[in-house]
Amino acid sequence: MPLSQATPGYIQLLLRGLLAGLFAGLLAGGFAYLAGEPHVEAAIAIEEAAAPAGETAEEPLVDRDIQRAVGLPLATGLIGLALGGILATAYTLLRRHLRTGSDTHAALGLAAAGYLGIVLIPFLKYPPNPPAVGDPDTINQRTAAYLAVLVLGLVAVWAATLATRTQTHQWRRAAAGTAGFLIVVTIAYTLLPAFHEVPDDFPATLLWDFRIASLGAQTVLWTILGITFAALLNRLATRTGTPQTATVTTA
């Protein structure tokens, strides 16, 4: 491949990542609408019932129906777009360092790393909360802590990868990777502050259902993103032919 095509190559990959991300985000929005919105509605009902008697509900800036039917898929679609672009950029820059000859494995591996670092590790430390849960006075601390655990989640995945590569035997690789991962996660979880802001009388089942729906929506997003991006890469490979096959295998 001539060097002059280097940058167009990135743009081609980026466009595929953006497309995969938008698609995944919209599907996640559909899932969240079906699986999550009933719980959001129930939580808002509790929030409004708990408002002081004298305080009449202020006129909402955006209608509830618009928030649900337009705002939700807009938010998940745009987040999917952003994550897809970041995944494609990571793929472009890191592909040579991923020790697999399969583009599909590389794409799915990066998506799995993103899911673990950006979704699962933050979820277990700071599980998402529905309306009516959370103290508005701590929103800045909670936002900062959330961003910190998200970054540390990615650091943990990176540490696991580095640790894996120090070993050659398969079981030692697995053990080293697990140890590297757990060390970073343990330090992060210990040092980051805890927030216990669920009201005593908030229904536990509603909280659980909301959190599972949120996890489900994010799982849909990352799963579809990884698979769609891998599929688009395979189409790109088929279309551009194979003269450059195996130029990228292992680094």
């Binding site: 940058t7 969240a32 999550g36 618009i66 745009l78 952003a82 450059q244």
Partner: protein, 64 residues
């Protein structure tokens, strides 16, 4: 899958890194707009923030 087809990623050059950094910044700005902005960036007051309220909750972002 007897014949694994692979594509070649572009060589990592200073130009590619600059382009990638630019696009990554745009992606992060977009994510910020959805997840955290309260009108300062979007210049729509709280409209976009309120519009995407449910998305933030269900994407696990601390909201209020």
């Amino acid at each position: 899958m007897s014949k694994a087809q692979t594509i070649t990623t572009p060589a990592v050059s200073a130009r590619l890194l600059a382009t990638a950094a630019g696009f990554t910044a745009m992606m992060l700005l977009l994510a910020y707009l959805v997840a955290f902005d309260q009108g300062a960036l979007s210049q729509t007051g709280m409209y976009l923030h309120e519009l995407m309220h449910d998305g933030r909750h269900l994407l696990g972002v601390p909201c209020h």
